[in-house]
Amino acid sequence: MSGPILQLRDVSLSFQGIKALNALSFEVARGEICALIGPNGAGKSSLLNIINGVYRADSGSVTFNGEQFIRIRPAHAAHLGVGRTFQHNALFRHLSVLDNVLAGLIRHSRTTLLEHAFGVGRDRRETREFKRRADEIIAFLDLTRHRDTVVATLPYGVQKRVDLARALVGRPSLLLLDEPMAGMNQDEKHEMSRLILETNASLGTTIVLIEHDMSVVMGLSHHVVVLDYGRKVGDGSPEEVRKNPDVIAAYLGTAH
């Protein structure tokens, strides 16, 4: 399929009268890494939440893979191929890394409660197949030695990778990453950048990410969209955005 994978047109959202997003439009091309940047409160997370149906836009439309929708449910978005990681840790904290990743495959399951209860029918084969796919992603993200560890006991940087693994295992065509490097040290950021680039290159996943570290954003993304107070103030390649005077005024120029 050609054309942009994601297209937002005049999307507005307000919380109790406060405009979080104001008639926002942009496109994400298939196969690119698109960064959303902007000061805190610019509406970046709200935007991701609209794309995968956690919030509902007041007006405007979202077109994903040529299909336009006004309101999508998170589970439906997941089925259509939208993966998502979270800004704040949202792992299943009492489960092992493997079980967290396996949970990301549940939507692909074709087996029923009875098959699970008695281990009959397609259950054993599906379980084997899911374990294989999960182990593949776990190895891809360098998590093999943590495979059977309960996630709550893992260091923060590792948990962020588990979150990515959980989103990636279902092979989404669009992956939304909400501050994947927040709270990481430089080494961890480099490693995460490498993994994101590798995901994009070897799996062909289109990625929309929110990130504050400008050096990371400039090195990582093909396309940068700049938000300020719910408005779009810049949209283009990293070089273009860096030169855009509005962007400099709104974001890059201000101390924060």
């Binding site: 995968n52 956690v54 449910r73 998170p74 589970a75 978005a77 997941a78 089925h79 993966g83 998502r84 979270f86 949202a90 792992l91 299943f92 904290r93 009492h94 489960l95 079980d99 396996l102 949970a103 990301g104 549940i106 939507r107 399951s109 087996t111 409660l113 699970h116 209860a117 008695f118 281990g119 259950d123 599906e126 379980t127 899911f130 360098d142 030695r145 943590h146 006991t153 893992l154 260091p155 940087g157 590792v158 959980r166 989103a167 279902g170 040290n185 080494d187 961890e188 490693e191």
Partner: protein, 355 residues
Amino acid sequence: MSTIGTEAIEGFNPSHETVQSTRDRLRAGSVVVLLAALAGIPLVANDYWLNAVLIPFLIMSLTALGLNLLMGYAGQASLGSGGFMSVGAYATYNLLLRLPELPLPVSLLLGGIISGLVGVIAGLPSLRIKGFYLVASTLATQFLLEWLFNQYGWFSNYSTSSSISAPRLAFLGHDLSSPTGRYLLTLTTVVVVTAVAARLARSQTGRAWMAIRDMDTAASVIGVPVSAGKLKAFFVSSLVIGIAGALWAFAYLGTVDARSFNLDRSFQVMFAIIIGGMGSISGNFLGAAFMIFVPILLDHFGGGVFGGAVDPGQLENFQKALFGALIVWFLIKEPRGLAALLSRAWTRLASRINR
């Protein structure tokens, strides 16, 4: 990428996997020994032990298992256990009464399924509310069911007394109404249901339940069917509790009596899983053992120490206070219950063996 933290954790215990496999073998071995002991008990135990201790212990374990699937695994708190036990008991009673040609296991299972379906209806509010509010709605279910069975005589075959005697228990021509027969019926049912439930808890269904419990918004975003998962949890949980209720009526009390399935029973089951360990299969047995054996011990111990100088009523109050204190202590000190203590003990033993 390796942070200092992970290096430290891994350097700390190089033989982690061997310890784990030894521990798993120890646990499996202990389960086999325990099962053999439970199967052999009728040869040595007297009727008092079977009737008043072991049968209620096993049934309480099964009830706890049912609630644990819902509350410990799927994270949906419920105070309706007594109500679902009564549904299972009355449903099985009516099946035995009205369809006597059905074999006993079929009636038991059908009774459980009816209870499971009632559970699905009672679980509908969980799609909108959670936590304390959900507890309140299951409480309403509990009271509604108690009222239903008292109000409508059809359920108890228009018996004049509020308790009705259970039909004779038989399977494949064997009379199961002796203490040993009822004990073996209970044991078999508990073993089979536990084996299936343990498998289910480790399966994809169980994983979906735990995902919903740990973080329901994230679960729905990654495509876990949250509403279906909750309703399945209510169904399986109420099914198991329903079977336990039927056993409580037929294998333990010998009567079907709505009063033995009141709110106190619901609380007792909830305490059993809190003490035993939420989200654990063995915890149900540990918690039920605690609920059944500790009062017996306190009785003997109290009688011995005070030599009858203390009023038995006082002693009973003391028991309740002690239970309450223990529950508070567990909630603070060991939220994962006796099962976590046991699991740590196994790990220690395993690492000692491997040393």
